[in-house]
């Protein structure tokens, strides 16, 4: 029956520390509770009376920045409590990714500086131009420019090493938020939520308040769906190509009516359009409600992701032309950047968000 009330904050003591400030705002939310129906963050808040650092990390990663709570809030500025929960949780969220990232420091750099991400992209593209120029081709299609062996040599580590680094970050997340053994039911619940973006539904399926202030809109949810499903289709396309190559001894290039193309072309279109949509919506949204100090990295990341989709489509559309070589270098360079920076860019949010949904499934069932 005891409660550690020393964790409680003075509601008027605005803090510059992201976790302390998020805690102050979450405590005000817990005393109000008017937003309970918007998303999973608020029911999660009501399960507790005081909030340790790990609780704040979990709530921050559960927040999808739909902004419904901000526009409904009676305590936003100029009120003395100065609530801006989307920004406060955004700050705690970005700070947590930077804290969990391994090696430390890289996430802070790439989340805060779009120029760093752009520089990485230029470097990766230059490397790929060099590789196309220097390394022998061997085979048909784009293998004529860069052989299969060279591609595996570059991309297998570029894919696996960041995943290992991300694994370290996710383990740190799980330990800080007190996660338990994951069950199939947890995975099912989290996958359902991720697949439908239920937390961008505004509580009654009317969408969020991202780009049109207090008006509800489903546009961000749709754009994000296009990005996520587009990316997954592109990824599935690559996997299917690998299977065809090794299991069926059927190397690229593939015709249109093949698994890699039937998955990859719609995937690329969705990814490109989705990213374009996200950029338009981001341009309309109020930056004061976004994650403070990370806008530059976020913009750069969406451009990079959209660039991966667009360059892949162009590579396919302009195949067997004079542009194939340069486009291949650009596409592979952008893919390389995306892969290598996964643990340190906004790309990490997908993994942490999924972990938060898993953790929420566990906590909600208890």
């Amino acid at each position: 029956m005891s409660l550690d009330v020393t964790l409680q904050t003075d509601p008027g003591a605005i803090s510059s520390d992201p976790v302390a400030e998020a805690r102050r705002q979450v405590e005000i939310c817990n005393a109000c509770r008017y937003c309970e129906g918007f998303c999973a963050v608020f029911p999660a808040i009501t399960r507790q009376k005081v909030f340790a650092d790990g609780d704040i990390t979990q709530l921050a990663n559960l927040c999808h920045n739909c902004r419904g709570c901000y526009y409904a809030c009676q305590y936003t500025a100029p009120h003395a409590f100065d609530l801006n929960l989307p920004a406060a949780l955004g700050a705690a969220r970005a700070e947590s990714w930077e804290r969990f990232a391994w090696p430390g420091g890289l996430a802070a750099l790439f989340q805060r500086r779009g120029t760093a991400l752009a520089a990485a992209l230029v470097l990766a593209c230059a490397l790929m131009f060099l590789a196309v120029a220097a390394l022998p081709g061997g085979g048909e299609g784009f293998y004529a420019y860069l052989g299969h062996g060279a591609m595996v040599l570059i991309f297998l580590p570029a894919f696996l090493l960041p995943l290992a680094a991300l694994g370290i970050g996710l383990r740190r997340y799980w330990s800080e938020t007190g996660g338990g053994a994951v069950t199939l039911a947890d995975i099912g619940a989290a996958a359902r939520s991720a697949a439908t973006l239920g937390n961008l539904g505004g509580g009654q399926g009317q969408g969020c308040n991202f780009e049109a202030e207090e008006r509800f809109s489903d546009e961000r949810r749709m754009a994000h769906h296009a990005v996520m499903w587009g990316f997954l289709l592109c990824f599935a396309s690559t996997v299917s190509g690998t299977i065809l190559h090794y299991a069926f001894a059927s190397p690229a290039p593939y015709g249109f009516f093949s698994a890699p193309k039937l998955l990859g072309v719609p995937g690329g279109v969705l990814l490109t359009l989705g990213c374009a949509g996200m950029l338009v919506l981001k341009g309309k949204a109020d930056p004061a409600l976004g994650t403070p100090g990370r806008a530059s990295g976020e913009w750069a990341f969406v451009w990079l992701l959209g660039g991966v989709g667009l360059s892949g489509l162009l590579l396919y559309g302009l195949r067997e032309s004079v542009l194939t070589g340069p486009l291949l270098a650009l596409h592979l360079g952008s893919v390389l950047t995306l892969f290598l920076l996964t643990p340190y860019s906004k790309m990490a949010h997908g993994f942490y968000r999924f972990a938060a949904l898993l953790r929420e499934a566990q906590a909600g069932r208890r």
Binding site: M1, S2, L3, V5, T6, Q8, T9, D10, P11, E27, I28, N30, A31, C32, R33, Y34, C35, E36, G37, F38, P43, T46, K49, V50, G68, C69, Y71, A72, C73, Q74, Y75, T76, A77, P78, H79, A80, F81, G203, Q204, Q206, E214, R215
Partner: protein
Amino acid sequence: MSEAIARASETWDIIIAGGGNAALCAAIEAAERGAKVLILEGAPKPYRGGNSRHTRNFRCMHHGDLGPLVETYDEAEFFDDLIRVTKGETDEALARMCIRSSEDCLPWMQAHGVRFQPSLAGTLSLDRTNAFFLGGGKALVNAYYLTAQDLGVKVLYEAQVRHVGIEGARATHLEVEVDGVTRHFHARAFVLASGGFQGDIDWLARAWGESARNFLIRGTPYNRGVVLKDMLDQGARSVGDPTQCHAVAIDGRAPKYDGGIVTRLDCVPFSVVVNRNAERFYDEGEDVWPKRYAIWGRLVAAQPGQVAYSIIDARSIDLFMPSVYPPIAAGSIAELAAKLELPAERLRTTIAAFNAACRPGDFHPQRLDGLATGGLEPPKTNWARPIEEPPFYAYSLRPGVTFTYLGLKVDDRARVAGPDGPYENLWSAGEMMAGSILGQGYLAGFGMTIGTVFGRIAGQEAAAHVA
């Protein structure tokens, strides 16, 4: 300000003084009937909506499940609840009309953008009687502003109505201050929905005495009763007693204005409450808190300095909804007295006398457990468990006023009563006339019911008048 000049030069069908729930319901109804409507909101845009910004639900009659509401809440039960809290201080015909009309309001609200959610955690007892707004009152206010603006209603913010120009039984214009300049706004009909006078502390002090200067105002600072006073000065008939208001005991550390729901304190039933002299003054365990919080505002208002302290021990800290303010904690009663600046010896005696009067029995926080003190005055009739296990915790209490009940008298068509019968083209809705129905006491969510029902009627009637 060019917008104000432009708006003042137009001729409106209907001008509405006020920008909260009642005003918006009136505006939407009138605009849907083709009227050209202007809303004059005294607050700046971030604070628009008056006290509606702080509300969370509205009380609604229904037969069978309706929206988020379950089972049935019929007119007889609703009216009984009203009679119990007002002790009969109501206008039965108006009250019954309001109750009956509430059932139609819920689908109307949904059709005009309001979204509901299930009862909030910790308020399960209300899921039959009160429909909760998704996101609370500000979300409702936002939805109505969007709907009204989509219907062509114009809104002028920071426009303070100073005077209603009346000739005989007709209102002719409003004198409105915008950016320090007073302008005349002309219309063929007017709806007055600009709330009570609780934001004017001087007026509260005139009605209550100087003790009112220690009251906290839970809602908007913009409801200063300017239009109400102007109308009463011109002979409009009033209802309600200026000392009556919806006031509750809230955390004494709350801001002077606009603290809203989070300043609520739910620990009283599990505590001992003492005044500045470290003396108890009322049965803390008389009933469950949702049925008692509204009387504690007045109880604390009657104490010296208008302050009280609710004291619990370690066993009770986890029994109630969290307060937004951390408790004042101490390892001993003496240390607590020092932190609260209470007479230490007196507090020790009061707690010791209370503890000695506690009797053995089973403590059940979720229901009336009958665990009462013996031979103590005043008694504590439920949840009387000794305050003995450190750390000890205290919260300060002050009266928090939500809205005052002195208002304009209206008829069942929301028409304002003048000295010689109803005005021809003046209607009123919301807290400005709620005293007609709420003579004293308060019923959770009923303010929004009154605002919605009378706001809609005022809008319909005013539109019919100008059609």
